[in-house]
């Protein structure tokens, strides 16, 4: 009985620790790598994360895993994110500009349609039909810095880790296709 209570207390402590580790930003980028989780919570960290994910669900949150480039557990990044997308009103109150997010949405869709890699100049040229040049440069640089997009040494743009973490790309593509049909009907 005592052993059971001890185990429960240990689990609660570890879950609390996992929450603190995930919610406090440590480095420049949000989230915690798998190897860090192992260091903080021990080898069974995935079980702790599962419990935490259930605990935060009533608050509209979830623990999300973004697989690393090599696919190993250590390179995975764990994040605490909104379980459901925010409402338009909620997003508006956060001070995000419509133009900025529209640039990002169009860029993600464009890159995905081009086998996940496209020359930056090609993206810029495409976006120029809808947005002013200064807005495109500013937004692309900003999203590169924040990890939503990635640019290699050949100035090819790719989808960044943060987009994989925050954006349901399949839903985005579906919505773009369906809304375009609605816009065309109007």
């Amino acid at each position: 009985m005592e052993a059971e209570a001890g185990d429960r207390a240990l689990l609660e402590r570890k879950v609390r620790r996992a929450f603190q580790v995930l919610v406090l930003q440590r480095g420049r980028n949000p989230g915690v790598k798998g190897w860090e989780m192992k260091r903080h919570l021990g080898r069974e960290y995935r079980k702790i994360i599962e419990v935490l994910s259930e605990d935060v669900a009533p608050m509209g949150l979830e623990v999300f895993e973004v697989k690393g480039a090599d696919g190993t557990d250590d390179s995975s990044r764990f994040l605490l994110r909104f379980k459901e997308p925010p409402s338009i009103t909620e997003a508006e109150t956060s001070g995000i500009r419509i133009d900025d997010l529209a640039v990002l949405a169009a860029t993600i869709a464009f890159i995905n349609s081009k086998q996940s890699r496209v020359a930056r100049r090609e993206v810029e040229q495409f976006l120029r039909e809808k947005f002013p040049r200064w807005r495109i440069d500013y937004s692309l640089d900003r999203y590169l810095k924040r990890g939503y997009l990635e640019q290699d040494d050949r100035t090819m743009l790719h989808i960044g880790w943060r987009t994989h973490a925050e954006v349901d790309e399949k839903t985005l593509m579906t919505l773009i296709l369906s809304r375009a049909q609605e816009a065309a009907k109007k």
């Binding site: 995930l22 919610v23 406090l24 930003q25 989230g31 949150l61 979830e62 999300f64 994040l79 605490l80 994110r81 909104f82 379980k83 459901e84 997308p85 925010p86 409402s87 338009i88 997003a91 419509i98 133009d99 997010l101 529209a102 949405a105 169009a106 869709a109 464009f110 995905n112 349609s113 081009k114 086998q115 996940s116 890699r117 496209v118 020359a119 090609e122 495409f126 039909e129 809808k130 947005f131 050949r154 100035t155 090819m156 973490a165 925050e166 954006v167 349901d168 790309e169 399949k170 839903t171 985005l172 593509m173 919505l175 773009i176 296709l177 809304r179 375009a180 609605e182 816009a183 065309a184």
Partner: protein
Amino acid sequence: MESSSANPFDVDIREKILILKQRLPELKILDELLVDAEAMLELAQIVKLQDQWLKSRASSLYIDPLLIQLKLKLLPKEALYGAFIKSWHPIAQVDQLSPRGLEKAFVYWRDLVPISERFKDQFGTYGTRPGIVDYAELVSLGVFTKEEFETNLTKLYDELLSKSNGEWVDYREFVGDESFEIKVRRAYLLSFLISEGRALLKTEPLTGKIWTMALAERVKGVPKSVAISITGEN
């Protein structure tokens, strides 16, 4: 191929490898062999791109690029914004000031060189802003001596008096000289003559012309300031 989004299957890898295979026995020099190895590496990169291309096409995210471009063009930015929000799960996180962050900030501030000293090595000392240099300062800088200044002023006055002879003369023609330094010096001296009431200045805003005239007798009136730029051009 790697720096464009062209179809990697446009390259016939088999054909290229056969060419390299045929040429290999002819290559004797190290440089040629290195170029050959480089070509092989590039082909390997294209095979990698082909692999990515196939994976992307096989994924559920694949949509014909032309179709998606057309759809994106049709959509107003508000609709794009709405589509993004509906597929967005923002990261929940707290930005906080940690003791370690505070310590880093303190060390940074403590070691920060004052702005006046910071870029001295790269750019030298800062120049001063445009301002007024008066006669006393010029004397103190050794540009003029008092005697030389008076002599030069009288000389310029006599020159203007003989040239104008009661008529307006073109200001730029009068102060103009081959040497920029002399031109500035003459303009500076003339400004003294005008300030002292020994010469007049007239401007024509429409044509941009400036006229001057020496007066036989000193006059007094309400002083007015006129800004005239002196350039190195003749």
